[in-house]
């Protein structure tokens, strides 16, 4: 583990991503503790410009954009993380079972996966979001997660198919491991780095999907997220009226968050992928 960390921190991309992500994380988690304002409190006027009182001005409802940004980033991270965990779990489960079992099981599972891949996930996302009445942040994460798993499943299946032909698997099989034990103890540990990278990609995809849905007005209720902030600023024509503070900060936050995750992923790829690894 220590070796891996040392390796990881040799990658400049990983370091840049990690530092940025840490910054965003502390802004979203520690920020609200230092600035315990209610993000929903309507403290100012319609699109009040940035001032001493409101560093980033107020939004269309007169709410402090800076406070909203902290809580919004937190919600977006929560949704992204939930979506990432769910998508990765489903993807890894289906992919590894299909890859390890092979035969009809593989055919069926991969058939389902391929069907899911061919339907644009945004369509399923929109339909699911409309159907669900109580969209909390966690529910949003769930909805995004259950539509984002197919490509992880395909990649994991390919890896599993290749891993299962290795010698140590044959040996384990002789010792009488069940299929599940085989997958958990003998296959997944060899893909751990890959799974983690897939999770990071799903995490950032989840955040972007949340922003897309929220901008369409299908975001979480009774909460603020980066997408919800953008949604209100677009509805209130912040671009035309010149209220840049209402939409540029959430866009920057979204960009930094996804960039940091992508950068970490790319850094990890450099380290874990033997073909990319530099000596």
């Amino acid at each position: 583990m220590k070796d891996i960390l040392i390796l990881l921190f040799r990658s400049k991309r990983f370091i840049v991503g990690f530092v940025l992500f840490l910054g965003i994380l502390s802004f979203a988690l520690i920020g609200p503790m230092l600035n315990p304002k209610n993000p929903f409190q309507m403290v100012g006027g319609l699109f009040s410009p940035p001032s001493d009182r409101f560093i980033l001005g107020t939004d269309n409802l007169g709410r402090d954009v800076f406070t909203q940004l902290m809580y919004g980033t937190r919600t977006s991270l929560l949704i992204g993380c939930t979506a990432g965990v769910i998508a990765t779990t489903i993807g890894v489960t289906i992919g590894s079972v299909a890859g390890y079992k092979g035969g009809i099981v593989e055919e069926v599972l991969m058939g389902i996966t391929n069907v899911f891949i061919t339907i644009p996930s945004i369509v399923i996302l929109i339909l699911l979001s409309i159907a669900i009445k109580a969209r909390s942040a966690i529910v949003m994460g769930l909805v995004i997660g259950v539509t984002a798993w197919p490509w992880t499943a395909r990649a994991v299946r390919a890896q599993t198919s290749s891993l299962k032909t290795r010698e140590h698997i044959d040996i384990a099989r002789i010792t009488g491991f069940s299929s599940i034990e085989m997958i958990i103890y003998e296959i997944l540990p060899y893909m751990f780095s890959y799974i983690f990278m897939a999770f990071i990609l799903q995490f950032s995809g989840g955040i972007l999907n949340e922003a897309t849905l929220s901008m369409l007005g299908l975001g979480p209720f009774q909460t603020v997220s980066l997408g919800v902030m953008l949604h209100w600023s677009l509805l209130w024509e912040a671009v035309r009226t010149g209220a840049w503070w209402a939409f540029i900060p959430p866009v920057i936050c979204l960009s930094i968050t996804t960039f940091s995750l992508m950068s970490m992923n790319s850094g990890m790829d450099e380290v874990f992928n033997p073909r990319l690894r530099r000596s």
Binding site: G45, L46, N60, L61, F221, W236, R240, T241, G242
Partner: protein, 572 residues
Amino acid sequence: MRRFLVSLVSVLVITVLLGSVSFAQAPVQLPRKETLYIAGMQWGPPTTFNPMAPSPAWPTNRGQHYLIYETLFVYNLLTGKLDPLIGESFNWSVYTLTVKLRKGAKWQDGTPLTAKDVVYSLQLGKKYSLYFSSFWDFVTDVKAKDDLTVVITLNKDKPLKKRVEVFLGQIFIVPQHIWSKIDTGQKALLEYTNLEPVGSGPYKLLSYSPEQIVLQRDDNYWGIPYYGKPAPKYIVHPIFKSNDAGNLAFERGDVDFSQQFCPEIWKMWEVKKLPVGTWYKKEPYHIPASIPSLYINLHKKPLNNPLVRRALAYAINYPKIAETAMSRYSPPAKSSLIIPVGVPEKKYFSQEDVDKYGWKYDPAKAIEILEKQLKAKKGPDGIYVLPDGTRLGPFTAICPYGWTDWMTSLEVVAESARAVGIDVRTEYPDAPVWTDRRNTGNFDLLMNTPAGGYTPAHPWLRFFEVMESKGVPPIGQVAYWNFNRYSNKKASSLLDAAAKITDEKKLYTIYRELDRIFMKDIPIIPLEYRPWHFYEYNETYWTGFPNEDNPTASPLHTAQGIRIFYLIKPKD
């Protein structure tokens, strides 16, 4: 040689294809100086120009510019009276209304427009279920006395003269010689698309597409001796995908006259120095004419308790709604069903009663009602619980998705209610869902405008739509007014009395009494004032739009607002 021929043929094919594409896409170029561009009345592609259809395209829908089809009279928002259009004058005797028509009125195909056409049009509402069929609740007979005189007999059981007058300014008159061929049944009538409409108005439909509707002036318009000739030769309504696209076009001067909700419009002249204007140069910029309100379910615990409703009424931050949701286009709402400023009904408003019986934004008072009068205790989550264990919420407040000013109003309601300890949440369903829930009374809190638009019967009509329970089916069935099924016999009898009275002093007394009952029972909470239409003009190409300093016509996109087309001039 063969290669040369192949190349030649390819070039020719491509040229022909490109040529046809560019030909197909080329829009009709209209002279800008003779064309007025309008926005905010048509969303989505036009499918029918049948004024009897449920939602025909601009300008044949109710409450839009009377440019193709006309009504007998047009309501003047500035005077509160009906001005002539096809009709010249109207007179009441006890139970009959005599309408005199303008001499020389003609249809666009040259056929004279007579009293028979008027009788035919009004009777369509009796024969079929149409947008004005309720006219026949108040009227028993309509007859043509001669070519220029129509006599309407009032229903003696419901002698509501004001209601009947409203219809004179709302019902489109259609030509009998054309419509009698279509009028073979309800379905046939409603489904007729009428793509070449023949009306009596000053404009004809020139072309339409999913992108725009174009009207061309009819230089043979019968009304020219009376009203003159409207200035624009062409009127174009581009069909925008969204509000912001329309507002951007308006800001650039590509649209001259707009009815869209345009946040912070004052920045266009104060900051960007554009030749843009609204009715007033200062707040509230528009004439308030309707009261979007919060309807409360009066049959659901604990909202059926007037004290809970009063606490909620005190909790709502009305100045914040005016400032943010209405983009300063509304003064903060008062606790009255009478609009206190701008419109003719302001003479009935009593500030004294509002101070004595009403409410205003006062969270401390809301908490006092909750704690002292209702004996409610605050739960660990900050929400009050009544002594019988009923928690104050969650109550869901709904309005249609995309109605940005309303959505924002409800956000303020929810936030200010939670701030005092009443749990209100927002939900934005699609408009048809909202309509269904409103009409069947299936809601906790719902935003809606009682008696929207403006008529000679306001504020009576507003009181009627909020407080009249006669003819309203129970919750679960479809109602067309009084959506929360408020019932008060005293209010009903006062409404009946007010409908028959013309004496201003007596009316003032009755309206005050009705308003006091309203403030006591709080069936709905007025949230803001909204203009009948947003009246916004950009004088880059056309000037002379009426405004507060030049009040030559009503700031409307309908009714007497059609005079605006006669008053404007192309900019030199």
